[in-house]
């Protein structure tokens, strides 16, 4: 191949990458733009592509009215449930892999739980939560998200743990570690990339949940996706608040995915090799 042809291919590739990136990033840019536009700019036609100033009124209102707590609620419920699901799921997956807990079928049964459409169980769960008096509490949401994420965590971690050579663990046992120490000092470091990748996805599932948060929260622990929908009124829609609230919801995700990127890529290319 000539150098010219190579150059063209590279340019075409870059152009494609740029187009795809624009396609995905534009909505986020638009959201960010709306959150700092003036009301006139928001409704202007033809649209205003670049906001004239940097108005933080939307954000100020959210914090002043206390609406921003919704983001905190999301962080708490998604964060704690992710930690719980990862710890329990990791140990459960180890048990399934190394002690053959539940034989061949438990793992399949567990992942099948994940396939139940949430709406099927939403109302039974609501009734259960009412009778347990945990509607609109952190405890309730955290328990729910943990339970819903566990099958996913167990399934993923099972795959990653199966990849770890048995002799590494046995060597550690002979060298003087207990089973629990092996879990911590050998199994976790060996599955680190997969562990963090799974944690990120677990966090995202909980973070994005709308259905359960809508049904199971009232005011105390309302999460940000539910809060945002409150701004779509029948008379008026508060675009500046929607923009600002959505940005508050997107930023933690950008942070999480950004810092964990290398684990996500490695974790899931590991999974891909295994098939």
């Amino acid at each position: 191949m000539t150098r010219g042809a190579k150059g063209w291919r590279l340019a075409a590739r870059l152009a494609c990458a740029l187009a795809v990136a624009t396609l995905f990033l534009f909505p986020i840019y638009w959201l960010a733009a709306i959150s700092i536009k003036t009301p006139e700019e928001i409704f202007a036609y033809p649209p205003v592509w670049i906001p004239s100033g940097f108005r933080l009124d939307g954000y100020v209102t959210l914090f002043r009215d206390g609406d921003a707590w919704a983001v905190w609620n999301s962080l708490v419920t998604a964060g704690i449930s992710t930690v719980l699901a990862m710890v329990i799921g990791f140990i459960a997956a180890y048990s399934i892999v190394r002690y053959r807990t539940g034989g061949d079928h438990l793992a399949i049964w567990i992942i099948s739980q994940r396939m139940i459409p949430p709406i099927c169980v939403a109302f039974p769960i609501f009734l259960l939560f009412v009778s347990l008096r945990i509607v609109d509490t952190y405890t309730g949401l955290v328990m729910l998200y943990t339970a819903f994420n566990l099958p996913y965590v167990i399934w993923m971690m099972r795959g990653f743990i199966q990849e770890i050579p048995l002799e590494l663990e046995q060597s550690a046992l002979v060298d003087g570690l207990s089973r629990w120490a092996v879990l911590w000092k050998v199994v976790l470091p060996m599955s680190r990339a997969g562990f963090f990748a799974t944690a990120v996805f677990t966090f995202i599932f909980a973070w994005n949940d709308f259905l359960f948060a809508l049904i199971l929260t009232r005011s105390d622990v309302i999460t940000y996706p539910v809060q945002v929908t409150g701004y779509f009124g029948s008379q008026s829609t508060f675009w500046s608040k929607i923009g600002a609230m959505s940005m508050l919801g997107v930023l933690p995700m950008i942070f999480v995915v950004g810092t964990m990127q290398r684990f996500i890529v490695r974790g899931f290319s590991m999974g891909a090799v295994k098939g």
């Binding site: 050579p165 002799e167 590494l168 046995q170 046992l173 002979v174 060298d175 120490a181 050998v186």
Partner: protein, 356 residues
């Protein structure tokens, strides 16, 4: 005195009877090699001693105290695995220090021990590297280093050299033997390679299908094998097995092609009108000088190795290899006169394979 004792150890994996009533006594400081074909239960036995497998019956004791039921970490045993089992996320230093940290050694002790081991094994130059940055031979040394720093009572090695290429293996073999002398600890070494077994062992335990076929000093097994299996397993090229008959009523024996050899001082006892299997190692043959020939052979293939030359021939269907002097005048498709060191040969029962 922490000598190891196995009393009728049994191990089942479901229906598979992997170890069948093995009894063994290993005095302190001995270098013992468990050898046998692949799948004969060597690893299972070793892992049972380490506590990585639960035995189904019998008893294992160390220093007079039963260790059955003890967790691996409570047995004070060190083990080197076939795959080396180095932790890829730890540096060489930390890999070697791993067992010391697990046993709560102080930082200064760890430093001293790792320093001592890395000097002994000549791996001091890459303590800060990671296992993936090392060659196979270097990884092997690190794995051995990790085992020896612990000052265990007993060292278990499961085919530690089988992932190395032939040259490296020869060097490491010598080094392991030297290491054993320096440490003075009990080594139990598993291999399927008879050369490794012969060269390393003070005592060989030869296993087949979970049963000890014979145990003893390497040369004892080599020269006085209890049965055909032991005789054939040790030695390379393997012992030749030739079916022979009694020559009339005389003290001689008749080879399959009719040649008669009659220089035995003690004639073997043949079963009534039956046959025996004569075990002749390749090195028991030599090219006859003058009139001392015991037999004639039509050489088919000549394989010079430089130091020795292998000549193979057939005696009415029985393939035979003779190991001859490198300067022996033999050539393919030519007759050679061979003499046999009959005193060193062995007879086996044709039915049971037992030596007689």
């Amino acid at each position: 005195m922490p000598n190891l004792q196995l009393s009728s150890v049994d191990k089942f994996y479901g229906d598979v009877h992997a170890v069948k009533g093995v009894s063994l006594e290993v005095p302190e400081g001995e270098f013992i090699v468990l050898v046998g074909p692949s799948g004969c239960g060597k690893s299972t036995l070793l892992r049972s001693i380490a506590g990585l497998e639960e035995i189904s019956g019998g008893d294992i004791s160390l220093g007079g105290r039963s260790i059955v039921g003890l967790a691996p970490r409570d047995r004070n045993i060190a083990m080197v695995f076939q795959s080396y089992a180095l932790y890829p996320y730890l540096s060489v230093y930390e890999n070697i220090a791993f067992g010391l940290r697990a046993r709560k050694f102080s930082e200064s002790e760890i430093e001293r021990q790792v320093g001592w081991a890395s000097e002994l094994l000549a791996i001091g130059d890459f303590l800060q590297r990671f296992p993936r940055e090392l060659s196979g031979g270097q990884r092997q040394r690190v794995a051995i280093g990790r085992a020896i720093v612990r000052e265990a009572d007993l060292f278990l090695l499961d085919e530690p050299l089988s992932n190395l290429d032939a040259k490296l293996r020869d060097g490491m073999r010598e080094e392991i033997k030297r290491l054993h002398r320096q440490l003075g600890k009990t080594f139990i070494y598993v291999t399927h390679d008879q050369i490794e077994a012969m060269t390393l062992a003070e005592r060989i335990v030869l296993l087949r299908d979970g049963v000890v076929e014979q145990e003893g000093a390497p040369l004892e097994l080599f020269e006085r094998p209890r049965n055909r299996f032991v005789a054939g397993f040790l030695g390379s090229p393997s012992m030749n097995f030739i079916e022979v008959e009694q020559d009339g009523d005389g003290p001689g024996i008749r080879l399959p092609d009719g040649q008669i050899i009659d220089k035995f001082e003690f004639a073997p006892e043949f079963p009534d009108g039956g046959k025996l299997v004569w075990g002749v190692r390749p090195e028991h043959f030599s090219v006859a000088s003058g009139s001392s020939a015991d037999m004639e052979a039509l050489i088919e293939v000549v394989q010079p190795t430089g130091s020795r030359t292998f000549g193979s021939f057939t005696l009415s269907g029985t393939h035979v290899v003779a190991e001859l002097d490198a300067r022996a005048q033999i050539a393919a498709d030519q007759k050679a006169s061979l003499s046999i060191d009959v005193e060193r040969t062995t007879f086996f029962s044709a039915e049971t394979g037992e030596a007689c």
